[in-house]
Symmetry: C2
Subunit: 446 residues, 2 copies
């Protein structure tokens, strides 16, 4: 279990509960929902990621002694609240889109049910994880689509916060990347780790040849040699001369890649190194990858753009109270009403994706203002036209986490979910060009 | 000390060292430099941040048993390399811009000196921390400038990776923010934590009045009430009715803020609550803050845009080998030569900022291809026209970290450095409008 995640939280989550404990509303049954009002401008779909990490973090969401001492010393909450926090562990339910699933505007990505106190205190953590990981996975998915089957490798650790980098590597693999340079991500999530060498390694040596000799001696001829430190043409000659025709790959990290890749391919073939692959890695994003589709490139090393969500470093997902017990003991749909584009729809939602002839045509969101769960289940089961694939799965039941979504196995499961869901999207909807969401979201009140 | 940071590292750092250990180059004396080739498009200056966090992370950069076991099991490096890692602790020197200092294209932000092995292995960690924290601080600095003295409060945790959020809160405070909603940042770095309430707290209650009564009972009349859940005008009436004229503040989180703020100010004044402040917090960035300059707003709650660097979530800083020992035992300047905009300047640099009549006019970078440190020091000391403020300070000496840059005291020190350096910039250079770097960078070979 990782260190306590409980203080990775906004102060107001605690002060709200403190006030609600005092007036007796803290125990009201509540349902919170995570959704995104819109996709990033021009994007056709989003990818839910971070769910497995979230479950791991919820397991570690306990206020330990040092945390409680600090909260007490700061005078943030009352003694009654400190007692509540001391005993806190999430005892409610969480249902949501399986990790790797696609989402659209208004998709009910996650639902947390429990007392107000139990559920509201997880808000910051839930949103931090889903917003970041989904931003990375959504960008990564476009890149693996653009790569049309060629491997994409995540190398962006240095362009992200050092812990975010681990999450980014994981999210990229969920969305189809084949490996990562990040060692901690490899260890924690069983990911395939990869790496070549930096220009510094070549510069360290008196000659480029010395560097290549050292690398091949250490890593074998199957290694990837970085050939663009001095002069690419000479670098390729030296690389093949040192490693022989068994040279695994050369890496190009600068220059006009479509042109250079073609020249290097010809050169390698002329040198008899026709099995030597070409890896490119210079500020690639999904558009640069698409532009290399016709170039003789074998794999893509992607850095900055994947770990920063390729222009959209967060998803704008929100966590809203949609249903709560009233003084009358009944459940009531609630929603912010004030203007300004931030109004939302109260009531618990159930979601299905309509699949016709194997292709997704619609995101259907059923809304039950009265929280009639059987009616929602029935609505999903009964809808007639085409097939309606249910999208929500139980993730936490009465505080018990479904471990099958966590750890290395969770990543593989999410990766398969992503691939399967993407296969349902019409080809046109997988284009990089800006457009509306790939399928419309229809809200049906039942 | 935090958990080991050693695996927050790219795989190739280890495999390069492995190869260099085998051919004897791992022990060559080296100097690596961190710099940015350019500022984000249109930005006038950047802010160095994360230095204190970096020193803390370097202290924890040890390969512990589980890490070594995993590396061994994966077969990433040789047994010789495992032995090297087992003993690893950084024994070199690090010199750099003090945290909070401004930087420009080509500024030698950080220099790490040591053997190749000792210094290269820190590359990923150094860049992760400086790139993210500096991106946040650079955006935050523009926001505090735009706020012209009104407090800015960081509330963006939910829009960033959960650990990045802690770093973001810290970096925002370095750049002049007054507080953060993030509790862990408050605890770890002694930051002022702040918070109001969410719409969920109002919706939890049967009426808005009930919610306000509960909050005031718990937090006192000096609290900040969120008045835009249903109808702002009615919300303000209820807020003042419940809390009285001693109401601390109202928060507006939606709508056309310049207009609404004015209406609410008039309303508060008419109700006699002329000391009640107005906090706004709806998708603010530096431009929105500037647009509110004439509105009766008392403080700004900033979320998404500050934690994501307001359009530039990473700085593009790189870590390049610039000087290394050769077979001849002498130090040689080295640099990547190949085309593609990624060439760099070899040799160790020393930097000073020329200050004339109290205002910065130039970033002067002295370059000594022969690593003649006394000559560099002399150059800085002797430059005649105007005053030349030396920019580099020792951060790590022979593996010993200067603790005065770490922890809560380090944040305050960085905050003062930021304020003082910003005061040196001409007013025009602090504008939000896009333009060239505020001062030119001149490279002088000595």
């Amino acid at each position: 279990m990782r260190a306590s995640t409980a203080l990775l939280t906004d102060r107001y989550e605690l002060t709200m509960i403190d006030a609600a404990l005092a007036d007796g509303t803290a125990d009201r049954a509540c349902v919170f929902e995570v959704f995104a009002r819109r996709l990033p401008s021009g994007r056709r779909y989003g990818v839910v990621a971070g769910t497995g990490r979230l479950l791991e973090a919820i397991e570690s969401f306990r206020f330990d002694g040092p945390a409680l001492d600090w909260i007490a010393a700061e005078g943030i909450v009352s003694d009654r609240m400190l007692e509540y926090l001391r005993e806190y562990t999430f005892r409610g339910d969480i249902t949501g889109y399986a990790e790797g699933e696609l989402y659209f505007p208004g998709s009910p990505i996650l639902q947390a049910s429990g007392t107000f106190a139990d559920a509201v205190v997880l808000e910051t953590l839930i949103l931090s994880i889903l917003n970041y990981d989904s931003a990375v996975a959504s960008a990564a998915s476009r890149m693996t689509q653009a790569a049309i089957g060629r491997p994409c490798l995540e190398m962006g650790s240095r362009r992200a916060h050092e812990d975010a980098a681990v999450a980014a590597a994981r999210a990229a693999v969920v969305a189809g990347f084949d490996g990562t340079s990040n060692l901690e991500a490899g260890r924690r999530y069983g990911l395939h780790t990869i790496g070549t060498a930096a220009h510094a390694f070549t510069l360290l040596h008196d000659t480029e040849r010395d560097a290549f000799v050292a690398q091949v001696a250490s890593a074998g001829a199957g290694t990837t040699l970085l050939v663009d430190t001095y002069d690419i043409e000479q670098g390729v000659i030296t690389a093949v001369d040192v490693a022989g025709r068994a040279l695994g790959a050369v890496r190009l990290d600068s220059g006009d890649l479509p042109v250079v890749a073609r020249e290097v391919r010809e050169q390698l073939d002329e040198l008899g190194a026709s099995d030597t692959r070409i890896v490119v890695s210079s500020d690639l994003d999904e558009y640069a990858i698409a532009a290399l589709a016709a170039a003789p490139v074998d794999s893509y090393g992607v850095g900055t753009s994947v770990v920063t969500g390729s222009g959209f470093p967060t998803c704008g997902m929100v966590y809203k109270l949609v249903l709560r017990e009233g003084e009358d003991g009944a459940m009531h749909a609630v929603a912010k009403k004030s203007s300004g584009g931030k109004a939302s729809i109260g009531g618990r939602k159930a979601a299905g994706r309509r699949i016709e002839n194997g292709l997704a045509t619609e995101e259907v969101v059923f809304l039950s203002p009265d929280d009639d769960v059987p009616v929602l289940d029935e609505a999903i089961a009964e809808v007639g036209q085409g097939e309606l694939r249910a999208l929500q799965v139980p993730l936490v039941v009465a505080g018990r986490i479904d471990e099958s979504y966590t750890g290395p196995a969770g990543v593989q499961r999410a990766r398969e979910r992503h691939a399967a869901s993407l296969d349902e999207l019409p080809r046109a909807a997988r284009r990089l060009s800006a457009g509306d969401p790939a399928i419309p979201t229809e809200v049906i009140t039942v």
